[in-house]
Point group: C2
Chain length 193, copies 2
Amino acid sequence: MLRIYGDLISGNCQKVKWCADYLTIPYEWVQVDIMQGETRTPEFLALNPAHQVPTVVLDDGRPLAQSNAICLHLAQGSDLIPKDSYARAKMMEWLFWEQYSHETAVAVQRFQVRYLGKAVADLDPALVAKSGAALARLDLGLEDRDWLVGETLTLADLCLLPYTRMAPEGGIDLAAYGNIGPWIERASAALRV
Amino acid sequence: MLRIYGDLISGNCQKVKWCADYLTIPYEWVQVDIMQGETRTPEFLALNPAHQVPTVVLDDGRPLAQSNAICLHLAQGSDLIPKDSYARAKMMEWLFWEQYSHETAVAVQRFQVRYLGKAVADLDPALVAKSGAALARLDLGLEDRDWLVGETLTLADLCLLPYTRMAPEGGIDLAAYGNIGPWIERASAALRV
């Protein structure tokens, strides 16, 4: 059976859980406490030398890391990945953008406020600006659209949802981005999360 | 014909050029000067609201952004993408890791030293440590292997190569990572870059 090593305080780990749940893939969840340094044990490093969760061990015992790579692997052949080549490429664009421009701002801001206890006023203004730019970009991508790519839920929505939905924990007011709120409700309902 | 908007001072842009050249895909190169803010013009923002190069316009006029997403699209069906499902997943793992953990350290350090003129001694120690950790992770991934995934060159090698090869411009001594130098020579030769 698939084993998922993760911690649900991490949006990256939520993605993998949501993807497996949506696809009704059975799995064993192995709790790895990030805050206690449990990704630095010799056992964990043998699975993922980059000491990051989520990491999964597939049915055949082989490990795989990186949330978006795991979701792409689990979702092969499902309706979460568009059949059309250009739509698939746009979905990939969103997935790489998420890791490069969104997670590195919105998730980092949330971590600093919620888990390090920083006041929003004490955050690096460059970080706050980067979060705002990422959310504005996402908001624009949802203009006149229900989903980020095509006419149905894809991995682009699934993988952008967790950290966007938790952005208020970082002191971000999502009301400033008019398309994001309804999309969060729509995607959360579709994924039943 | 494919149009590639880019600037070759950017390793992300080099990836797309190298991928198209390797696959002998004809293209028109449109120079976009990052340092002069040419990704912020209304014309460019219409192609990519995230104002990042590389951005391409495909044969049918539709735009696509994010270097790794572009390479994946161009390389569909080629020997740069493994046919085996697990090997393909491991390649994706490297591509997402590259954008999240490698580019954000090694490329940023190079940019600060080479283009902002910072002395290595004045860099943020956390950035230097992150670059070192990324290169150590890459080095480990090349232990007893010629290529990052499987037995041949894949997009994992192509997309990790540019910023790794330019790391010395950021004051990084690659001699500390014994597997990286030979891999750079091997991958550069295979790609003829």
